[in-house]
């Protein structure tokens, strides 16, 4: 058994617990009666988040493996017989045996929401960053910390040393009946999120623990940005049960991987963070070292740096590995399998009301037949995309962020995260990205991004009063950030590297898709790409030489026929 699976769980009880799946999750009502007809309220896309049982609860190959081999049965432990009435009580029970887990976990990004980039020195992490979706978690923990791996994070002042607040269950429970709600209720427009949930059976979920499966990670990571596949493009609810052509690794018809098969780790630290990516793994991790563990989530850590078979074609394909990321060819399109991703967001239109209340519009039907919202009063207008050809860029793994204190030129699109790389840099490779385009508020006087106070039951929260001026002033004040008092809207881009939804090899991108005049790489300059590039004079030279030769022999031949005829 690979050494990285440190703890073992007996997963037999899971079978019993899966019966719980049959219990249908009560659908929160998304509509409220208003004068003048029904008006849709709220932000119900969030209702899937943190309620994996309602979505799905697949058993991964890792689950099956552990169930066979585990030496411990958590249902038998006296510590887990309860009664429990809250999450922290369960956590205390967990930590009473796993007495190093708490200390391990409180240094993890899922808990700290903080990451200092060792290369750029930038302060990153959810607690600090501004993105171009819902913009900032900071100050909006009452909603956003639904996906914090702890209990009751309601503000940035959260006590990061209090280990009993770690939420072991969200990552480890296997019944599918555990759920997390936002730590606080917001305004009326959002409060319906909390209706109609069945109570959690704490003993049952506590006894069901296992290594994290797709359902555990996916419950938050498939819904980043406020809904199914909104943010990443390559992480959606399709991955609970992906068809083989959507994800050859995670499909039950394929390898049925859990996320942690690739995102390997020890001591509650996992490989594969976007904050510090390995864009080229050839030297560091892909050298053949039999039996050696590699704490990276790269393709090369399993497939090596010569992944194609020994043949003429394989030889040529392996030539690409140092310049083209595996993902560029093996993820043929973004947002596959029927769930769309958000590609455009316009905050400028947020705040329109009908009969004095906020509303929603469904203007897009995605591949699986489900409608998506194209307008919400609380957020503005959106556009979606599916099966998108990625945008390709040279990338060396280094990303610099536009943070709250970065001054920019608002006349050009502002890059929320700037990716670096060039064809002349041996550490760079061509990577596929989803590019998110947004119009979002900024400080017009200081040319910086802003923290907005979106969520709360107070009068300043935008999700309630629809007033940008107050929401921004409050968001900036609360965090002690200087604010000119005047806001505008700026166009922003963010880059989302595509790593998941790897297709079976027969569906890899055809050579012609890049090696052609108007191919996928037409925007990338500074290197010679056969089939795309040519010196303009070379084609003229060829035309003159070959054309001239043809004209010459034709003229010569005609002359012969003509003169012979005259002689005859």
């Amino acid at each position: 058994m690979p050494g990285r699976f440190r703890s073992s769980f007996h997963l037999f009880p899971m079978l019993l617990c899966l019966v719980g799946l049959a219990v249908a999750r009560a659908e929160p009502t998304a509509q409220a009666e208003q004068e003048g007809g029904k008006v849709e309220l709220g932000i119900t896309e969030y209702t899937d988040i943190g309620v994996k049982g309602g979505v799905d609860n697949p058993i991964t190959a890792l689950d099956e493996d552990k169930r066979r081999k585990s030496t411990a049965d958590h249902t038998k432990y006296k510590e887990l017989q309860g009664p429990f009435s809250s999450g922290p009580e369960v956590t205390k029970a967990c930590l009473s045996c796993h007495n190093k887990a708490g200390d391990q976990f409180i240094h993890n990004k899922h808990w700290t929401w903080s990451y200092k980039d060792p290369e750029t020195g930038q302060q990153l992490g959810k607690d600090w960053l501004i993105n171009n979706f819902c913009t900032n978690a900071r100050g909006n923990e009452g909603m956003c910390a639904q996906c914090h791996a702890g209990f009751n994070r309601t503000s940035p002042d959260y006590d990061l040393t209090k280990q009993e607040n770690i939420d072991c269950l969200v990552c480890h429970e296997s019944t599918g009946t555990y759920y997390k709600l936002p730590p606080s209720k917001g305004n009326k427009a959002c409060a319906i999120l909390f209706e109609g949930k069945p109570p959690i059976d704490w003993v049952k979920v506590a006894q069901s623990v296992r290594l994290p499966a797709r359902a555990n990670c996916g419950t938050c990571h498939f819904y980043g940005g406020g809904g199914d596949n909104v943010k990443h493009g390559d992480l959606s609810s399709v991955l609970f049960h992906p068809p083989r052509e959507v994800d050859v690794h995670m499909s039950e018809q394929g390898e049925n991987f859990a996320c942690i098969i690739c995102h390997v780790g020890e001591g509650h630290q996992w490989a594969g963070s976007r904050y510090n990516m390995i864009a080229w793994d050839e030297k560091e991790h892909a050298l053949p070292k039999p039996g050696m563990e590699r704490q990276t989530a790269t393709c090369e850590s399993c497939h090596g740096d010569k992944p194609h078979p020994f043949s003429i074609r394989g030889f040529k394909l392996n030539d690409h590995v140092d310049r083209v990321a595996c993902e560029s060819c093996h993820i043929p399109a973004t947002a596959r399998g029927g769930v769309a991703t958000k590609v455009f967001w316009d905050w400028r239109t947020a705040g329109r009301l009908k009969n004095g209340v906020g509303y929603r519009e469904e203007g897009y039907v995605q591949g699986n037949g489900e409608p998506r919202h194209t307008y919400k009063s609380i957020k503005g207008s959106f556009k979606y995309g599916e099966n998108l050809v990625p945008t390709y860029r040279w990338f060396d793994g280094k990303v610099t962020y536009t943070t709250i204190d970065t001054v920019f030129d608002p006349s050009k699109p502002v890059e929320i995260n700037h990716i670096e790389g060039s064809p002349q840099d041996p550490k760079s490779r061509i990577w596929p990205f989803k590019r998110m385009v947004t119009w979002q508020p900024y400080d017009k006087g200081r040319n910086t991004l802003v923290y907005m106070h979106l969520w709360g039951d107070d009068e300043d929260a935008f999700w309630g009063n629809y007033d940008f001026a107050r929401a921004i002033r409050r968001g900036m004040e609360e965090n002690g950030i200087p604010y000119s008092g005047e806001y505008g809207f700026v166009k922003t881009w963010s880059w989302w590297p595509q790593n998941h939804m790897v297709a079976p090899k027969e569906q890899a991108v055809d050579c012609d898709q890049c090696h052609s005049k108007n191919g996928r790489l037409k925007e990338l300059a500074g290197f010679y790409l056969p089939g795309r590039d040519s010196q303009p004079w070379l084609d003229w030279f060829g035309l003159l030489l070959v054309g001239g030769t043809l004209a010459g022999v034709t003229g010569h031949g005609l002359l012969r026929i003509l003169l012979r005829g005259r002689r005859g």
Binding site: I312, P423, D510, S516, P530, G542, V553, L563, R564
Partner: protein, 218 residues
């Protein structure tokens, strides 16, 4: 002087010629596809067949060079100015007047001076140019030092320019088959190996004595 049918192209030479002709056709067809002139086959297949044909041609040429050196056939390509002018004058002028080709083929010298000079240029300049640029193109990963080296563009440019020159050669080569005795008359020796050659008495005596297998039965 007697005119006899003498074998001037032996088996290997004919095999070499026709295999080379086929491979060059494949290389031109797939090569210009890779360059992006048309999409009749996929880029993937074009590259594959281009590489296979190129490697096959290189192997063939290793044998051909060995054959030329060991049999002394390389002497056929020695350049000479003797008789060059009348041949050039013939193609530029005499051919239109219905004159006879000024060159008489010898069994020991099968190419006219212009032909020999053309083939020598092809073999000493154009072919090496396209092979070395092609091998550099194929093996770019071993010299570009981990980056996308700007020199690759020049390697590719030289390779394609040489291909244009070879295409021009092929056009002229095919056209010249139509001159003189006609297309089939020129092609037949490269198929059967035998051509009608004017022999001196001494030459005939030599062939009858020492290389009788080269003389067709009367």
């Amino acid at each position: 002087m007697p005119i006899r049918k003498v074998r001037i192209f032996n088996g290997f030479e004919r095999f070499w010629h026709w295999t080379q002709a086929l491979l060059i056709f494949v290389l031109l067809f797939t090569g210009f596809r890779v360059h992006g002139y048309y999409g009749l086959i996929s880029f993937d297949k074009a590259v594959y067949f281009h590489v296979v044909a190129a490697l096959s041609l290189i192997v063939l040429w290793i044998f051909a060079i060995f054959w030329h050196l060991t049999t002394g056939t390389w002497r056929h390509y020695l350049p000479t100015t003797k008789g060059l002018w009348p041949v050039m004058r013939f193609y530029a002028y005499g051919i239109f007047k219905g004159e006879q080709h000024p060159y008489r083929k010898h069994f020991w010298r099968k190419h006219n001076p212009l032909q020999a000079a053309s083939y020598l240029g092809l073999k000493l300049f154009l072919f090496p140019l396209i092979w070395f640029s092609g091998l550099a193109y194929l093996a770019y990963n071993y010299w570009q030092g981990g980056i996308s080296h700007p020199a690759l563009e020049w390697v590719a440019t030289i390779h394609v320019a040489a291909a244009f020159a070879i295409l021009a050669f092929v056009i002229i080569h095919l056209y010249l088959l139509t001159t003189g005795g006609g297309f089939l008359h020129h092609v037949a020796p490269m198929i059967t190996g035998y051509d009608e050659v004017e022999l001196t008495d001494a030459e005939l005596a030599y062939l009858e004595q020492d290389e009788p297998q080269r003389l067709a039965k009367e």
